[in-house]
């Protein structure tokens, strides 16, 4: 769900009021409410059953970027695993405070408030913005981090979701243009033109996943599965041996139904899907993947695009861009990039897989047709 961080003011308010309690279900935990302790004890018992004698994985979950994040680590002692998870979840909180468009006072928020002038922002914001502009350039604006005014106008994923008038869309669309925005890494500043607003919902979760991977790697964690609401990053393979097995969400099914299995070792997979966030009005479904060139949800014949790449930041931006570009241009884009693969699912239930994923992806649902490149 690359756009997860974007449009949900309601969730932010709830979250920031109560802080960022993390869910934890491993053996060693911080002292807390009795329910936490009791639940943890019971869960540790259940996990002990599941895991048998294998190196004991440690898991934790929390709510960030408008979604639930689960991280499981193993291949290290559980104390080391706990410490690494502490570092990862503090980092998630820090990144949300800097990169969310809906957290008041975040870098992205201040950037919009100060539009027209250079605004000093964190190194994280500089890095993500600069990568975002790179992909905006590469995709001719199909991915555009200045999409803020359109995201706010539609409000998809929030209480205020509605179909705007053509005039409103024209006015908001006129503000969306990455070529009128810039970053100055040497000066530590970023600049938008008057009226523009940034939204990093299509890339920030990927960056958070990469940061989690970096922290876990530096902590000497051998195997990890990082799941940011359906964006997956893995370190190593499964603790039991072999690659991680990742199910590809069925775009027409229930959450958790999958149409095929993707095997990944030391890599990331990110999906943009029309089913992730949407609302319905007069029988029409409006999803959250807005096309900057029309101002409306993209209608490219696709229902989902999954990108497999070494960098989750890149995979996040690319999945959004490829969805908006559609199957032909999207595949051309992916095939032009090194070490990057994709799985496109079309409205007419075709599954198009790039050559480099032919070995690692197996379609398991025969109501779909596999189309190899």
């Amino acid at each position: 769900m690359p756009e997860g961080a974007a449009p949900d003011g309601i969730r932010r308010r709830h979250l920031s009021r109560a802080g960022f309690a993390e869910l934890t279900w491993n053996a060693a935990t911080r002292p807390g409410l009795f329910s936490r302790v009791a639940g943890t004890a019971a869960l540790a018992a259940v996990l002990a059953l599941f895991m048998g004698c294998a190196p004991k994985p440690v898991s934790r979950a929390g709510f960030f970027f408008g979604t639930v994040i689960e991280v499981t680590v193993s291949g290290s002692g559980s104390a080391a695993g706990e410490a690494a998870l502490d570092a990862v979840f503090s980092r998630f909180e820090e990144l949300e405070q800097r990169l969310s468009a809906t957290v008041a006072g975040s870098d992205v928020d201040r950037l919009g408030d100060g539009a027209g002038e250079a605004v000093a922002v964190s190194d994280d914001a500089l890095r993500v913005l600069s990568r975002a502009y790179y992909f905006a350039e590469l995709t001719g604006g199909a991915f555009d981090p200045t999409i803020g005014p359109l995201v706010a106008l539609w409000g998809i994923g929030s209480d205020g979701a509605r179909v705007p008038s053509d005039e409103e869309i024209t006015a908001a669309r006129a503000l969306v243009d990455y070529r009128r925005a810039s970053v100055d890494e040497a000066a530590g500043t970023a600049t938008l033109s008057a009226g523009q607003r940034a939204d990093l919902g299509g890339i920030a979760k990927g960056y958070a996943a990469d940061e989690a991977g970096r922290i876990l790697n530096e902590a000497g964690i051998g195997h990890a599965l990082v799941n940011l609401g359906g964006n997956i990053l893995t370190l190593g393979g499964r603790p039991e041996g072999g690659p991680w097995r990742i199910g590809l969400q069925d775009p027409f099914g229930e959450r958790g139904d999958y149409i095929g299995v993707l095997e990944i070792t030391d890599g990331t997979a990110v999906t943009s899907g029309a089913y992730e966030r949407y609302f319905e009005k007069d029988g029409v479904r409006y999803h959250h993947l807005l096309d900057p060139s029309t101002g409306y949800p993209a209608r490219s014949g696709l229902v989902s695009v999954t990108i497999v790449a070494p960098s989750s930041t890149d995979a996040d931006a690319l999945s959004t861009a490829a969805f908006i570009l559609g199957p032909e241009e999207g595949i051309a884009l992916v095939e032009s990039l090194a070490q990057t693969g994709a799985i496109f699912v079309t409205e007419d239930r075709r599954v198009i897989v790039t050559v480099n994923l032919a070995e690692s992806f197996k379609l398991t649902d025969d109501t779909y047709t596999l189309q190899k490149r």
Partner: protein
């Protein structure tokens, strides 16, 4: 919160009792569960408060209150769902029934989650 009305000693007793009860419950569950049965874990405000072997689940509805909201969770043999919630977006309710390891129904605004886990899952996670 209700907890603030308790004295520290009461809280300690509650913690120990609840821990023992739940641990005993988990032990009983483990003894009965066939290895690999899907298990529903209900997480409220960051804590796992219920663990239910879905194979043995009876049709019932349980209500969970977090600091931020209330969720009604419906169980049936083999499956579970969030049946009602007082959150604004109802994403958790729209998720519908879940039954297989790896699936989850999550109320982000209310901070209640139901996750299904098991050790014989065919996949480790779902991308999407």
């Amino acid at each position: 919160m209700i907890l603030t009305r308790f004295k520290k000693g009461d809280l300690f007793v509650a913690v120990v009792t609840a821990t023992l009860l739940l641990a005993a419950g988990a032990a009983a569950l483990i003894a009965r569960a066939g290895a690999g049965d899907p298990v529903a874990i209900v997480i409220v405000d960051g804590a796992a408060v219920d663990i239910i072997n879905l194979r043995d689940a009876r049709a019932e509805e349980r209500v969970y209150a977090s600091a931020l909201g209330t969720c009604a969770v419906a169980f049936e043999p083999g499956r579970v769902r969030i049946a009602a919630a007082d959150c604004p977006d109802q994403v958790c309710v729209h998720t519908g029934w879940i039954s297989r390891p790896g699936q989850s129904a999550v109320c982000v605004p209310g901070r209640v989650a139901v996750v299904v886990r098991g050790d014989r899952a065919e996949v480790d996670a779902i991308v999407g």
